[in-house]
């Protein structure tokens, strides 16, 4: 069982936390490698998230660090109502994520590592499609799209080009625009800069920084990038094999593990280097949703 590592910003506790996760569990079924005497491969439960607890205050940014298969994406998917849990509880602004998904969906949006779009459709068409699901009329969308694209640094005049003709960095900017178009109060960023070239990466990070200053959003950022976590987040969490080992401001984390860098703190917390290849369990965990 992971201890509750929730805390508040500057000692000021919001009446309703933006995110409240308590003892959250998610298991997946996996086939055994070996066959039994009848020649059949049995199945077993593998825990993707093991009793994770934390809370976030409104307007706070937290970064979750973890290797592939640590459960970062599973956590994001659980909070996005895309997965059903196997135990524990998650609340977003007081709404039960699993019992009241509709109000939660109105408040949450997400940017994932893959900028997923209808590739033959243009950026504007993809954004319009996403906006309709949040009740935005064609008129409102037409006005909002150029503004939001400009804000994320996407050249507005290219909005009618098919997504398949845009670079990966440009696509990721459209993904950010898609998430912001619906004015989410909780933004879930699942490795938004992974695979981007250095310039695009910096632009996206700069945009997240702007967002923190100007938009009433709470941000949960899952990342591989230690520097990104340290630069953008109020608190940094270490998720290892489904367990949240710590969630503290980066400096406190380093102090706690007597480390000079976050990488050293990660090593001290997990017993493994951040970039280290995992063992068989980690290989298996990499396929988790």
């Amino acid at each position: 069982m992971t201890p509750d590592v929730s805390s508040s910003i500057g000692g000021e506790v919001e009446a309703v936390p933006a995110v409240e996760v308590s003892e959250l569990r998610k298991d997946f079924w996996r086939r055994n490698k070996d066959r039994n005497r009848l020649g059949r491969r049995g199945r077993r439960r593998v825990a993707a998230i093991r009793g994770v607890s934390f809370s976030m205050a409104r307007g706070e940014t937290i970064a979750i660090l973890g290797q592939n298969g640590s459960g970062k994406s599973t956590l994001v998917r659980l909070l996005s109502t895309l997965l059903l849990h196997d135990g524990g509880e998650a609340r977003i602004f007081g709404h039960d994520v699993f019992g009241q998904p509709r109000p939660v969906r109105r408040m949450v949006n997400r940017v994932s590592v893959e900028a997923s779009f209808f590739k033959k459709m243009s950026a504007a068409e993809n954004l319009a499609y996403a906006a309709r699901f949040y009740g935005m009329t064609p008129g409102a969308t037409r006005r909002a799209i150029p503004e939001i694209l400009q804000r994320v640094g996407f050249p507005s005049e290219r909005r009618h080009e098919a997504m398949e003709n845009l670079s990966r960095g440009m696509q990721q900017k459209v993904a950010l625009a898609r998430a912001l178009l619906t004015s989410p109060v909780l933004l879930l960023l699942d490795e938004p800069t992974t695979g981007l070239d250095p310039r695009s990466k910096l632009e996206v990070q700069e945009f997240i920084r702007d967002l923190q200053g100007s938009h009433d959003s709470t941000i949960l950022l899952c990342t591989h990038d230690l520097a990104e976590a340290e630069a953008l987040a109020d608190r940094v969490g270490i998720l290892d094999r489904g367990r949240l080992l710590a969630l503290e401001p980066a400096e406190d984390l380093k102090r706690r593990y007597d480390a000079e860098t976050l990488e050293q703190a990660f090593f001290a917390a997990t017993g493994r280097a951040f970039e280290e290849e995992g063992d068989e369990e980690d290989d298996e965990r990499e396929v988790f949703a």
Partner: protein
């Protein structure tokens, strides 16, 4: 009351969004669709020429009536194919593009989400079916002096409610089996039509298949449309085919939504929404 009206407006905007997206995608793939339409015409001709073939080989047959009857069957087959394809693609296409998670985490009811696909599928399917009917009819110089096309259209639209409900059950299959689920839609389409007298009277089928025919909406659709086109039956006369369609539709829609909901819950429990999951 005001909140309910606001919620309904939100839902209808979402439904229109799905229709709009399908319009965009259809525009992008219009030449592929045109090629597919040529294939459908060719396929329909292989069936409708059978009547002439029977006469040519010495059979005594009313070629005009038999050709029209076969044409109705082939057009309904093609129409059902389009409706099921669009509904199955509601999930399959989004999984392929990777957008499904964004769609499923949006605050739109599944009824409206699927409804948008259904509305577009029916509109697109109707345009295609009407075009197919008249293009193939032109090959045979068919005479349909007493045809009531309006009544035939009404029967097809009413039948579409049931087809939509069954299509929703098909749409869930790619959620359960990302690789092969979509193909099972063709199985359902084939079974339904073979039991519904697509190219022959239902009476020629074995008893157990006739039992299936009584609960298949395609049976009443084919019967009503053939009655309207071949015998000039108006809306009043085709009513015995319309009311069963309304009842089957009233059962199929909630059943389809329930099945889809169960499939969605399964996918969310087992992490199947993810493209590679």
């Amino acid at each position: 009351m005001r909140a309910a009206a606001h919620a309904l407006r939100h839902e209808l905007i979402g439904l229109a969004g799905v229709v709009e997206r399908n319009v965009y995608l259809t525009r992008r793939y219009i030449w592929w669709d045109a090629a597919w339409f040529i294939w459908t015409v060719a396929n329909t001709l292989t069936i409708t020429f059978i009547a002439k073939g029977i006469e040519a080989s010495g059979g005594i047959i009313d070629v005009n009536r038999a050709t029209t009857s076969l044409l109705v069957g082939a057009v309904i087959w093609a129409y059902l194919g389009v409706v099921f394809e669009f509904l199955t693609e509601t999930v399959a296409w989004e999984r392929w593009e990777g957008t499904i998670e964004y769609t499923f985490m949006a605050p739109l009811s599944r009824a409206m989400h699927l409804g948008g696909s259904g509305v577009f599928a029916v509109l697109y399917g109707l345009i295609r079916a009407i075009l197919l009917f008249f293009v193939v009819a032109a090959f045979f110089d068919l005479s349909m002096p007493s045809a009531d096309f309006f009544a035939a259209l009404v029967v097809l639209i009413v039948a579409s409610i049931s087809f939509f409900g069954i299509g929703m059950r098909m749409a869930v299959l790619p959620l359960i089996s990302p690789e092969k689920g979509a193909q099972l839609g063709y199985v359902a389409q084939g079974i339904m039509l073979v039991c519904s007298g697509v190219y022959y009277p239902v009476d020629v089928l074995p008893g157990w298949m006739q039992a299936i025919a009584t609960i298949s909406p395609a049976t009443y659709a084919l019967d009503g449309i053939r009655g309207a086109i071949l015998d000039g039956e108006g809306l009043g006369t085709v009513w015995p085919d319309v009311w069963p369609l309304l009842i089957i539709g009233a059962i199929c829609i909630p059943l389809g939504l329930w099945v889809f909901h169960r499939g969605e819950q399964y996918a969310k429990r087992h992490g199947k929404l993810k493209r590679s999951g």
